[in-house]
Symmetry: D2
Subunit: 368 residues, 4 copies
């Protein structure tokens, strides 16, 4: 089953395990003529790089990206862009022990069930390092979107029980704290909470929120390729995600139609816009011109230092203490992964949208 | 943008609008040799048929399915199965008025934005009738799954603020009340709640839960084609869904690793199984042998009789009262749609899984 | 294995067997705003309809197409267009005998090998009637292409040993003779040849040629999705095709670079054009602005009245005389099928081409 | 337009230009448990390596492949296999001149037309080096097929006007001459012919033939995913291919049904087999148990030392003499590329075939 490719026109294929030669991505279908250098991608990768705070793994990786193809004289050529990051700091010895048993909350057991064996070093293909390819591709997608005046803001909305206070929301703050929270007070509280988790050999979950502005109305499709459906898939394809919601999300279950419906009004620029945004920017699978707003729930890091019960490969019950360097929380480093998957999904939908009307085809080909 | 097809090996393509000749689906890739008659499909369709209770639209449709191809002498032949349900009760006159304005909470505006105009009769392609094709295909997928000893139980978990009480959970009850709730007491309360909504010209949302048992471990893929990611997409492709979660879902955001991790233990049959199921039956994108458990949040029906503010096609503010026959709640009729999308997604993953190992290929082709 | 869908953005799914309820196609991804009525499609279907000459099967079918969805007020809406043609003249009795044995040159044996059994009536899914869906979709694609000033001319280039004489080539003649040859003299000779074949209880093969004019340069992709590769697949997916070539085709094997290369020159309109067209209009997988020219070789109709040797389902050798109504040649009726597959393939490539450059995306979205 | 990926379950994505960092491929969907080392792949790559004879470019590349992911402890893991070959011998200076004009017979013009500019060094993405990724993936596919007792024999059938004599056919000879011809006498003649072409600053075309034995009946699909249609696409996606035919190919156009039909007979092992193989091993899109036999026509190398007429980027007519190191013929090095594309296509079809019957699903999942 070939499951390492996503996208239709803007298509990426990731490869690589935690402790192989490296990890990478091939981005196929990127439009030609985009100015692109390694630094454009590195900026995104640095946001998910380990070893940057007390709450991320102390594994030392500089995660320098190399462009292997698809860029010529500083511009994308329209051919596949191959990107690679070498694995520098393997420490395979840390993991040899886990070859023989199934870590709770991890994919060890399911890998064995599907494939008969697994590359157990550092989680192999299920390692968080797999997301490097996504983020590298996301940097490219986000750069194109920004040229179309579309911007994505992503941040930690909650760390364990600590949620941001929307009245203190400050986008500038996001990059200033290691938890990527847009609320300095909440960030401080969350740090204390994480210290406590760590001290207790435990880990925490949280919520990432993403807001996309500038999306024209009509992007996406009415049936299976709804923009929200593809966002749901893209976000749920990130390890550790257990929930996804758009707009008011699960709250709609208790809402009434009179309050949940967003009225259309005339804007100052005489455009039809929604007065509220319970829908989260998508109606009937297509963008409605309002900001697209969604959230993803991440589970606590499954690798914890506490003693856990499990079985070994022979099915015998054992107790284990997982060693190695692990984040007590996945959320902060997942922020840029969420942003990347959103950018990739939206761009792909926008590229497909260009042939939605016969008049678009006529205008395009008559101009050439 | 072609968005009416879903699935890779078990692939369906739906077509049809609310007020055209009919609605239908082509199911391609269905394995040969399955006993199949119209009644197998009709049973599923009858669960979503309108006019069955006070809470579903009074539109009268018998929704009789016709098998147009792909079945010969009572068995599927491996070629595409074309299924059609005629639209009997159009009442196009009810909808002519909405041609000129955008109903809040509906896809009218986004259809116009994407395509330049729309079939406004009864919501056109965005009508709930589009799900007939999904349910017809779902009936086939579910039949195959049942031959593999995989069973799907789907029900309303919450209607507005009324949730089922798990201590009263009774699977037999689901088909006995019009709300498909597995708790008669909650169902009665929910009916009262819906009466109130109706009286107040309002509508309600709710939550559908789905439990799949008997799935062997190892189904799905570790990266983009995670089984949970494809379930998320499939469920989010149903209109009105605003949230999707698996296992503990959004609760994991506040959980700790020590409690969220599921220990592996030795079962009575000497198999490795999970002692708990916070994960909801999927680890690392692949089924783990536990029941797959997920939930979807549905928004309140956007068509309500109360006066609402909106704009017409010229962008002028107007007040509207939506006429026509509308359910005060989508949830009960969506139950079988959720079950269908789950069956389709799982079966497709299981078909792709058959070539996961070289030894599977060798065993298969040596036996032939 | 789901193999009844083709195309990426302009996507079709055909269904139906020779002796089921009917045959049809769902065309998904058709751009909105195209004027479309049944007559637009019927014109194409009538070119492949049986019973029109002495050389096509005497099966009587009016093959009236019905548009079931996707068109509203005379225009395509962007949603799937479902088209159906009922099977009127089944004559299942003619075919009951062939249930028990394998007709030489037919797919009877391979169907049984793959699926375990088959719908043997009239060839089931392998019947020429399957192409009705292709032609119906092709009519739509060709209509869009004609609005982009792209025109496709398809004809019989050879019937058995009788080839057209290019010095007598007359496009107007194509529709005037039942063999769709652009050379009346050759057509007359070919008719005599076919009479002889028929008298001898035999059948003939031939060659279809297709010329597409007006295609802008740059359509198609440089690697796997070469325009010629997709044309090759599309044409080879038509039953009975055994060879496909583009431009000089198999003759290039004996050519030299000095003669095979097409020089670029400046045209009267000061554009860069090729002085010759050995390449057949495609270089490196992308259209080069010259007419696209390709040919397909069709085998003789396998159903012949002569006695043939074969085996029955038990593997026992038997002699058979195939009854039923069969064309002594496939070619004339295949002409419009080839044209349809070409139109579908080209249109899909043109739709995908619209996002080939970042500047195209910017121009498109800034204009909206 | 994303066109660098091919395959459905066994899926490959190639990347790289002639003068970038390197070229490579990601093979996704390879079944787990295959013994695989770099030498397995190198053997295939060495068959297409330049600099091995007087008739291949003198560019010096060792073309050493590196496995970057997907193999652990000598076995494939089921995760993507990333393979890379570095470009060692760039000589970019040789190509700087061609930046300003369009070489006849090359994709320079069409690249500019599509993307607005191009990586002109050595043909960029359209270089023959792109096929390295295909051959690396083909080596893996062929290894799996050989474990299923399926073997592929590929060779040069004709070089310019020199065809092999089937009475002298000797499979052992193929690897003994630099032209990969199974007939030493023809090979000697062809060498003389090529010497003459070279002396005359000219190039030659030819025909590659491929024979696949051991394929079970029933592989492939009856409609768009016919095995022959996918072979046609795969082979036509190789640069310089201008024709493809299966079995008797273009000769069928002049054949009669009585001679073209292959009778079924009972084999010595009491199986139903074809007495002849005009069909080339495929009936109705599915393998019929006979050897699969197809041919591809390759055009002469477009890069020739003779003076040629063309235009520069401003459309001004110029005369050019193409410098650089070029093969006078593509055919010998293309032999392994054809074999690779055949292996990839067939394996993918065989993997998809495993779920063709409900009984296959039941047998598979009951055994687990």
């Amino acid at each position: 089953m070939a499951g390492s490719t996503i996208g239709n026109i803007f298509k990426l294929t990731t490869w690589g395990e935690s402790h192989g030669e490296g990890v990478g991505v091939v981005v196929d279908g990127c439009p030609a003529g985009l100015s692109l250098c390694e630094q454009d991608i590195q900026k995104f990768l640095d946001r998910r790089r380990p070893g940057q705070s007390a709450f991320s793994t102390q594994r030392k990786e500089t995660d320098q990206v190399h462009i292997l193809s698809g860029v010529f004289e500083g511009k994308t050529t329209g051919t596949p862009i191959s990107l690679m990051v070498a694995n520098e700091d393997h420490h395979s010895r840390d993991y040899s022990e886990i070859a023989s048993y199934y870590r709770p909350g991890h994919a060890d057991y399911t890998f064995d069930a599907k494939y008969g064996f697994r590359d157990y070093r550092g989680g192999g293909r299920s390692s968080g390092r797999e997301t490097i390819g996504r983020v590298a591709a996301g940097a490219i997608a986000a750069k194109i979107l920004s040229e179309l005046n579309i911007h994505i803001l992503t941040y930690s909305k909650a760390i364990g029980p600590v949620s941001i206070d929307m009245t203190r929301f400050d986008a500038e703050e996001i990059m200033k704290n290691p938890l990527y929270m847009p609320d300095a007070v909440a960030a401080a509280k969350a740090e204390s909470y994480l210290e406590r988790c760590k001290a207790e050999k435990d880990s925490a979950g949280g919520i990432v929120e993403c807001v996309i502005t500038g999306v024209p109305a009509g992007i996406g499709d009415p049936v299976f390729e709804k923009l929200n459906a593809n966002l749901a898939k893209a976000i749920f394809s990130i390890g550790a995600v257990k929930g996804f919601e758009i707009g008011d999300g699960f709250e709609v279950a208790q809402a009434r139609g009179t309050t949940n419906n967003d009225a259309f009004v005339r804007s100052e620029k005489n455009q039809s816009v929604k007065a509220t945004n319970h829908a989260g920017g998508i109606l009937g699978g297509m963008s409605d011109g309002s900001p697209i707003v969604f959230r993803a729930a991440f589970k606590p890091t499954p690798s914890i230092a506490s003693t856990q019960q499990t079985v070994n490969k022979n099915g015998e019950p054992i107790n284990v203490n997982i060693k190695g360097r692990h984040d007590p929380i996945i959320v902060p480093r997942a922020v840029v992964v969420v942003e990347s998957m959103a950018a990739i999904t939206l761009l792909d939908a926008m590229m497909q949208n260009m042939s939605a009307r016969v008049s678009y085809l006529k205008d395009f080909y008559e101009a050439r």
